[in-house]
Structures are given as C-alpha cells and as structure tokens.
Amino acid sequence: MQQALGLMGDQAIMIGITFAMGIAGIAGLFMALFWPRRWRLPYRVEIGFIVVLAGIVIYADRNSAQTFQAYEAGLETQQALSGQVAAGQEGAAFDRRIAVYAFQWGFLFFDEDGAASRNAVKVAPGAKVLFSIAANDVIHGFNIPAARMTTELEPGRVQSIWIQAPQAPGKYLIQCLNYCGLGHTQMKAWLVVGDDAPPAAQEHG
C-alpha cells in the first residue's frame, strides 16, 4: 500500500538503527558488568564515537527532511492547481478534496458539493484525498492510523493534509490525538473505503 508519507522503507531503516543502538548500549552495559575481561578505552575512542553519532544525526535529519518535503511538495502541487482544475478531473492532484471541521467532540466532513456528513467520510479505494481541516474551539488532533498521518489543529487556522486511502474496502479509524476536553475519548470518525464511492472519484477512476 502506497502511503502519503512514503515511510515504510525509511521508517524501517530508522527503527532498525534505533534497535541496533539500544541493543549495543545494553550489551555494552552487561559486558562491562559481567564479562571477566577488563578493557580500558583510550579517550580517542570517544572522539570516534562522537563522529559516528554526528553522522547518524545528520543522516536522520536529511532522511526525515526529504521524506517530509516530498510529502509537502504534494500539498503545494494542489495549491498551484487550486481553482484551475476541480478535484477528480483529469490533471488534478487529488481525487477528492474534503473540508473537515473538528469540534468538541467530533468531525464534520464536507464533500466537494458541500454535502455534510458527521463522523464518517466515504472515499474510493486508493484515492488521493486532500483534507482541509479547521477547528475553532480548542486544540484538536487528526489522525488516520491506516494512512499513517497525524496533524495537530490550532483553533482559527486551516490545516491541509493529504493521504492515499487504503486499497482494501472497509472502515478505518480517524481519531483525535490531543486532549480536548471530557469528550476526547469519543472524538473519532470513520474513513469508509468502498467501491460505491461518491461521483467525483468514480468519474475519475
């Protein structure tokens, strides 16, 4: 499944590096404690160690920035085309453009025609969907685990994110990830992926 953030590969490398560093550290600790052989490290080893760490830091920063910039480039394409091509039409960056209003406590989705639905939004399998999300009460979150995407919403601003919907039809969780008051637990919605998708996406596919 292609993800908006394209993280599978990069993330696997980063999680691998994290595991390796953790295991190396814990192994070093236990060897220092229980391995009979004693070992006095020369100080220059630490210099080499810092160089390696700095390399890992720079690699992680570059990797993360590239991944995120590629994702942001997708958003900018949309902005460049905005107003010229309707979503779902030939040449459009996105199959769907959905406005979302996050409130205490729920999500309201408006499709391209302005039709509203509460706590559920229907898209075609694999559709590229742009969400423009607004909130005006308190800070909320917007997270779609199946699309591996999270954002944080500050009141008074419109936040745009895009995802690629899963290929398999089904109901996928959308949840708030910021504590926003007593109803936070209930603040969830469903991304409904199905073939009987709304007209815009059907015309396109």
Binding site: I26, L33, R40, V57, V138, E152, H184
Partner: protein, 523 residues
C-alpha cells in the same frame, strides 16, 4: 558526627548514625540542617509517589478492558491529571533534588546547605501547591493546553492554575539554592566534582525556565477570570503563544529530574567501584551541552501543528537529534568506567548499585527512541500523542530518574538511620520494579506503534490494543507492590534493621553477609 574530610570521591561520605530517631517534630518541620531538609524532601516525595501511584492504579483499573466499568471521563481525567502533576512536580523532581541536597555539602565540602531558608521555602511552597491540586482536582492534564484548560474543571479549577504558579516559584527557589551551593565550592571550577557540574546545569535550567511556568500559570488564572484573553482565540488570544511559552518551560522541565539523576550516578559509581570516572571532561561537556540544548529543542513537542516555517522546524529537528550526543556521552562514560577495572563483589551485591545499573538500562531503553521521536516524518506517523510518548517518558522518568532517586535513598539510608535495610526485601523491590517497568514500557511502546491515543478513558476492542492494555495494568500492579515493599522496608529497618557498620558501603571482594553486618559494633 562530622563529615569526612576525604578529598577522594571514592571515600565514605559520613559515619552511619541514628539521626532520624533524634529529630523532634519541630526539627523535622523547620530545621535548616541539610540532612533534615533532604530527608524531609525524600519522605514527602515518597508520600507524593504513593498518592500519585494510587491514582495511576485506579485509572489503570478502568483501562484494563474496553468499555466503562468504574467511572467516566471526568473522574478519569482528574485522576490522570493529578497523577501526572504529583509525579513530575511532587515526586520525581523534588526527590532527586533532595538526594542532591544531602550529597552536596559533603561532596562540595560546604559542610552545610547555604540558603537553607530558601530550600525550606521551596519545600513549603510545593506542599501548598500539592494541596491545591488535590483539593481542586483539575482535569486538564499536566500540559494544560489552553484554551481547553480554561474550559474544563469545576469552580475550583483556579486552584490548579495557582498550583502551577506555586510550582514555578518552588522550583525557582530550589534553583537559587543549588547555584549558591555550587558557587560555594572553593577549589576552582577545574577540580569541581561532577555532582557540582550537574547541580550547576540544573540550577541554570531551574532559574531560566521556571519564571516562564509561573507566568503561564498566572496568565491562565487571569484568562480564566476574564481579565485577559491572551491564550483564548475566542477572546482574540492565541494558542500558538501558549504552545511556545509553555514548552519553553516544558522542555527544560523534562530534564529537571534527569540532570540530578545523572549527577547521582556520577556520585555513586566511584563510591561503589572505588575508582574515578573514566573521563571527567566528557562528563562536564555532556552536562553543559545538555543544559544548553534543552532550551532550544522545545518545538518538537508540537511539531505536527505546522504553524512554523519549515526551516525553523528543520532547525528544531536537528537540534533535537543532537541531544542524542550529550546523553550518549554520559552513558558511554558510565559503561567505560564500569569496564576499565574489576567490579568489587560488594558493588554487585549493593542495593543502590543494582538500582543504578537498572536505571542506566532504562535510560538506554527510553533514550534511543528519542532518536525516532525527533524525526518529523516518523513523528507525524505513529509517535505524536500516541502511547509511544508516555512509553518514552515513563522509561526516562520512572525507569531512570525515579530509580536513581531510589538508589540515592537506599545509599543514604544507613547514614541517617544507622541501620541497613533488609536485603531480601530490597532485592524483591528491585526485581519487581525492573520487570514491572520493563513490561510496562515495552507494552506501551507496542500500543503507541498501534496508534493507541493518549488521554482516553475507553477504547475500541481492537486485538492489538486489548491484550497490551491488560498487560500494562498488571505491570503497574507489580510496580505498586514493589513500592509497598520499599516503603515497608524503610519503615521496618529504621527500627529493626541490622546496625550499619562504620562504612556501610565498604568495598570488598566478598559479598557482605547478614552476619557480617550484624556483627559490626552497634551504636
């Protein structure tokens, strides 16, 4: 009793004596003797730990299985908020600082705690804050994001804002005390023990960050009262302002328990191993670098909010990743110190040493994931505000900071009671905590990876969530049982423990036995 004049950091710090039995209630409440201030701080922190832990076990019971069993969101969030606040502000920060109050006058040879009156004021201010929290029972979490925090809670919610101001004042005073005592070191910066460098960094963090916390608390109070509208968008205020101001305190704040805990490691290792640290210079550089970086990384707490230009975000990302370097230098130094010569059998057997090793283990386990948390792309996937974050900070706060506070307490115990703790009970506590904390942290990481959201009282019965939640509750119960054994051990041993020998942590290649301890001359 006099402090030893040993210039060697590996030598004994005091002679064991039953000080506790000689203190009257009046001494205990108001004396400026550094040992009394420190022991009072430690015992109070343990009471806070007991309360906050009880709250945690209560809301954990609710989370064991999906659906609402015992109580709803209001009670849950009240318990969770007071759990977080008491643990961070009432238990872990004051406890590591109290252990350092006890160590500083001897390690830094000041013989007494300078500005003890300020330490006393810091203590009582915090007590007042804790009482306000318990009475007011705010339910806005320990990060109290405005404007949510302005719209929850009952009529008593102002007590929560006032408590935030008092915590700021209390921590500022503690910072002033630490700085004053570090400056009392007479032999020049070059030869200052690493405890001194740690306390210097801690003082900088406290003095520079806590005024902002007090300001944020005061603004919440005036916003709530309708006098100002600084954080509330409905009044023309800005949540971005809140986030920047709060996290300017909030990031240094999470190092407030970390830095003294690191300083305790640097004090205990030479004592148990009988040799200096592998590299003093590396320790000093790591302390200073950690202190400086801690002020310029805070944006990572709200990086998916994208209200900041992308190159500023990128700068915060690389600075956050750079934190990895000083923190790893500390761990590297400890491992190199353990490795460069033999480890006495007495060290392996000593309870404080065991807790120190356990703490280092969890610092590694919690620290490496910081490498992932810092990366915007990974953070935007499964890290931000899922259980991954509490897993990370419970490994750090509980696994490392709290375990170093416990190591320090076990270490100091014979010096103020004249007795040794029961070893069997202490070892039971040790293993319950290592296994409990490990299970809890790993399961919470797994939940975070499965996108389990923070701050929820109820959850969907997804297979990847339910088993792990039940596991976390059981691990929490094991940690709670460990605490009960710890508290009982401290209480029982004060009266019935074996009398402490002249040097309770004397190094030898034979494990100390109960008979050896009992045979030592009793007071």
């Amino acid at each position: 009793m006099t402090a030893t004049t040993s210039t060697d950091l590996t030598g004994p710090h005091w002679t064991p004596q039953d000080l506790l039995g000689g203190w009257t209630l009046r001494d205990f409440l108001f004396s400026n003797d550094y040992r009394i201030i420190a022991v009072k701080g430690i015992l109070t922190a343990l009471v806070m730990l007991a309360l906050a832990g009880l709250f945690a076990l209560t809301f954990r019971a609710e989370l064991t299985v999906p659906d609402i069993q015992f109580f709803g969101a209001r009670v849950y969030m009240g318990l969770m908020t007071v759990h977080g606040m008491l643990m961070v502000f009432g238990f872990v920060i004051p406890m590591v600082i109290s252990v350092c109050y006890y160590l500083m006058p001897v390690v830094l040879k000041t013989e007494r705690l300078h500005w003890a009156g300020a330490a006393q004021a810091s203590y009582w201010t915090l007590i007042l804050g804790a009482l306000l929290l318990i009475v007011g029972r705010p339910d806005f979490t320990w990060t109290f994001y405005a404007p949510m925090s302005l719209r929850v809670g009952g009529d008593l919610v102002w007590m929560g804002y006032l408590a935030i101001v008092l915590v700021g004042v209390s921590e500022f005073l503690a910072g002033a005390v630490l700085l004053r005592n570090v400056l009392a070191w007479k032999n020049g910066w070059g030869s200052m023990p690493l405890l001194g460098w740690g306390m210097f960094s801690e003082a900088l963090l406290l003095l520079l960050s806590t005024p902002m916390l007090a300001l944020v608390g005061a603004i919440l109070l005036t916003d709530w009262a309708g006098l100002t509208g600084i954080y509330d968008p409905a009044q023309g205020g800005s949540t971005t302002t809140f986030l920047w101001m709060f996290w300017f305190y909030g990031h240094p704040a999470v190092y407030l328990p970390l830095v003294p805990a690191i300083a305790i490691v640097y004090t205990l290792l030479p004592r148990f191993l009988g040799r200096p640290m592998w590299s003093r210079a590396s320790g000093i550089i790591a302390f200073l670098l950690l202190a400086v970086l801690s002020f310029i990384v805070f944006h990572h707490h709200f990086q998916p909010s994208v209200t900041t230009h992308s190159w500023v975000q990128r700068a915060f990302q690389i600075l956050t990743l750079a934190i990895f370097i000083p923190s790893t230098l500390h761990v590297f130094n400890w491992i190199a110190t353990l490795w460069y010569d033999r480890i006495p059998a007495s060290a392996h057997a000593a309870i404080p040493f065991r807790f120190t090793i356990g703490a280092i283990f969890f610092l590694i386990l919690g620290g490496v994931t910081g490498f992932l948390n810092a990366q915007i792309s990974v953070d935007t996937d499964f890290i931000h505000n899922t259980y991954w974050i509490p897993a990370h900070f419970h490994a750090m706060f509980l696994g490392f900071c709290a375990q170093m506070a416990v190591a320090g307490t076990y270490y100091l115990y014979p010096y103020f009671t004249g007795r040794m703790v029961n070893r069997a009970l202490a070892n039971t506590h040790f293993w319950l905590w290592q296994l409990g904390i490990f299970a809890k942290v790993m399961l919470m990481y797994a939940l975070g990876y499965a996108y389990f959201p923070r701050w929820v009282v109820d959850y969907l019965p997804l297979p990847e969530w339910t088993g792990a939640q039940m596991g976390v509750t059981m691990a929490g119960a094991a940690i709670g049982l460990g605490f009960l054994i710890f508290a009982a051990n401290l209480a029982i041993s004060a009266r019935w423990g074996a009398a402490a020998p002249e040097d309770p942590w004397a190094r030898s290649d034979r494990e100390p036995t109960m008979t050896a301890a009992t045979a030592a001359p009793a007071e």
